[in-house]
């Protein structure tokens, strides 16, 4: 069991003929992901990585029966690419692209909601269900199948945690990067709900960072609804207010969104919180979750 993606997921890569798209599509195929097609306007009829390229998403979906897409197209075309994927009826759209204007994402968010599409990202590493399907840019080899769900706003910091988990013999059901932008398609709560309902997931690791109030709202939700342990972490304790720490969404503005507030909210919800990434396995063990053999 897993959430969002598994061995049956059929993926279209939007922007598969570009440098990034081609490189990561090849990595995904190597991992065993069922990449069925690519879409690049103007390249229809060609092939890339032995997969057909289509001009439009509608065509690609009709020809392949795909049920997910991943977006690698440059920022200025990415919102349009997401809208095209939603219009083509895909239930899952994962936007890797960084740098999409916030107002454009606002439109994409509401359109996804109206059409019932699940949007992940943008500005995220993607999703992986270890051993089954990898959609995104994360290094596949650090993951291992298991019983821990991972949700994170970051990229490499997620890898750091996953690496700790795998070394500590805590495999993962599914790891989801929800993205570092102010407006993202799916929140911590959306993913927590899915992990709560997933029989194979025994505990969740939730990796937050400064900016916004997503962690605080998630902590309140966890307190009232979550049936499984959730281990928390918040990056940016040393971040000064008013400075954007790389991610467009990682900024302490108007005195809100500090690491201290988020950690306090997590603790108030009864969540164990890591001071350092290398404490995660220890806290899982303390929460009664046993490592795999």
């Amino acid at each position: 069991m897993s959430i969002l993606i598994d061995a049956n997921t059929k993926v279209i890569v939007q922007g598969m003929t570009g440098t990034e798209g081609r490189f990561h599509a090849a990595q995904m195929i190597d991992y065993g992901t069922n990449v069925v097609a690519g879409v690049t306007p103007g390249r229809g009829g060609q092939t890339a990585l032995d997969r057909p390229i289509f001009n439009t998403m509608r065509e690609a979906v009709a020809e392949t029966g795909a049920n997910a897409s991943v977006i690698f197209v440059p920022a200025r075309f990415a919102a349009d690419a997401a809208l095209e994927a939603i219009e083509a009826g895909l239930p899952l759209v994962i936007a890797i692209t960084e740098g999409i204007p916030t107002l454009q994402m606002m439109d994409v968010y509401w359109e996804a909601k109206r059409c019932g599409a699940r949007l992940i990202g943008p500005n995220c590493p993607g999703i992986i269900t270890p051993g089954q399907c990898k959609i995104g840019i994360m290094p596949g080899h650090i993951h291992r199948p298991g019983k821990i769900g991972v949700i994170s706003r970051s990229g490499t910091l997620t890898y750091e945690f996953v690496n700790e988990l795998t070394l500590g013999r805590y495999g993962q059901t599914t790891c989801v990067g929800i993205g570092g932008d102010p407006i993202i398609g799916s929140s911590f709560i959306d993913l927590l709900e899915m992990f709560n309902a997933d029989a194979a997931t025994e505990a969740v690791v939730m990796i937050g960072e400064i900016g916004g109030t997503g962690e605080e709202r998630a902590a309140l939700w966890i307190k009232d609804n979550m049936k499984k342990p959730v281990i928390g972490f918040v990056a940016g304790r040393t971040a000064p207010p008013g400075k954007r720490m790389g991610h467009a969404g990682a900024i302490i503005a108007g005195g809100k969104g500090t690491a201290a507030e988020k950690i306090a909210a997590m603790q108030a919800a009864g969540m164990p919180v890591c001071d350092r990434p290398d404490q995660v396995c220890e806290l899982l063990a303390q929460a009664g979750i046993q490592a795999q053999s």
Binding site: M106, L157, G212, A235, R237, A250
Partner: protein, 380 residues
């Protein structure tokens, strides 16, 4: 990206909003001339810096005559406000204030929409109002696709209890808050205070607009408003290299791939008793050329006495990163201790490359941070 008050007011004037008369100047003589041309007393001399609290810092002064204009302009021009040297002042007509209101618009991350906010408690920090007396702020949710509706504007006007003769102009102001955001990809617009004068006129006495960095490429005229005087010179240089760098006050220069990991690395340095000199994200791909540029920028800060690399390569080839770091160090000629933590493809090869050098390889992020703190303390 932030802009100055006078630039924001220029944008407001494009929307026909009522503003105090005034002009922006860079010298004392020009300030005197500007005040004379206004032909009214008193006038206000306002420092043009993009930091909050300039009034408290003495950057906003009322002048009743030419001598006072000269004196205030002399004091304010060149004044240092929170690390920024004042290069321009706005000389404006003074206004007789009956009421100070607040009007603003911001992107609501949680609600995924634009929110217009108004309050009768203007002139002070709106966050303080929000914390102490939230009932004194009216928030209007602007549903994407519907836009700000006439009934919402009426709600705002009645909430603020404005005299009927001002309703037309205040409607225009509230509508403009939405337009400024939508037309220019702004992330925040504030009029604080929005003044009702003793003669029942409404004026935008202050103006603040922040823009979405991700959308600046769509608005070259807005991007051109950037004032590099407001930025740390190293931060400007980093921006030209597409690097995300924030200067801090510590001694350990941090070079990390990925923003979340970079923040966590800084947090670990602090956790082990050290002080990070910066935030720096070299990008998830850890490209060797960018690492070289990053090393130059980090070491240009003279306070830095130790370098800490934390690269979670993943797909990135660590041997290339190691070679890149060695080359960059050679070229820049720096001789500071370097602690490296590299994980990813070809990690062993990277270790071989670095084995014959004085670079210190540490296997984990925690151990690398501890080592860097130890070396930094030794270097003090």
């Amino acid at each position: 990206m932030k802009i100055h008050e006078y630039q924001a007011k220029q944008i407001f004037s494009d929307y026909g909003l009522p503003l105090p008369r005034g002009s922006v100047v860079e010298t004392v003589d020009a300030a005197v001339e500007a005040a004379t041309n206004l032909g009214v007393w008193p006038v206000v001399v306002k420092a043009q810096v993009q930091v909050g609290g300039r009034g408290k810092a003495g950057g906003v002064k009322l002048a009743r005559n030419i001598d006072e204009v000269r004196r205030h302009a002399q004091t304010i021009l060149g004044m240092n406000i929170k690390g920024i040297t004042v290069k321009r002042v706005l000389v404006e007509q003074g206004i007789e204030i009956a009421r100070e209101l607040y009007a603003g618009a911001v992107i609501d991350r949680a609600g995924k929409c634009l929110v217009i906010m108004v309050s009768p408690a203007g002139g002070i920090n709106i966050e303080e109002v929000a914390a102490a007396t939230p009932e004194r702020i009216l928030k209007l949710r602007v549903q994407p696709g519907l836009g700000l509706r006439a009934f919402q504007i009426r709600q705002a006007i009645y909430f603020l209890d404005l005299p009927p003769e001002t309703h037309e102009v205040t409607s225009r102001i509230f509508k403009a808050l939405e337009r400024v955001i939508m037309d220019h990809d702004a992330s925040l617009v504030e009029i604080n205070p929005l003044v009702l004068t003793t003669r029942d006129e409404v004026l935008c006495a202050d103006a603040k607009i922040d823009f979405d960095d991700n959308a600046l490429a769509l608005h070259p005229a807005i991007a051109a408003l950037r004032d590099e005087n407001e930025e740390d010179p190293l931060e400007s240089e980093a921006r030209h290299h597409d690097l995300s760098y924030i200067k801090l006050d510590g001694r350990i220069g941090c070079l990390v791939n990925g923003a979340g990991l970079a923040m966590s690395t800084m947090d670990l340095v602090k956790h082990y008793g050290g002080d990070p000199a910066n935030f720096l994200d070299v990008g998830g791909g850890a490209d060797p050329d960018r690492i070289a540029a990053a090393l130059r920028i980090v070491t240009a800060d003279r306070a830095v006495n130790t370098i800490l690399f934390n690269i979670f390569g993943g797909i990135v080839r660590c041997d290339r990163v190691a070679e890149g770091v060695l080359r960059a160090r050679e070229r820049s000629g720096i001789d500071l201790p370097i602690v490296m933590r590299l994980v990813g493809t070809n990690e062993d090869k990277a270790r071989e490359i670095l084995a014959g050098t004085d670079l210190i390889m540490m296997p984990t992020m925690s151990e690398a941070a501890q080592k860097a703190v130890e070396l930094s303390k030794r270097g003090e």
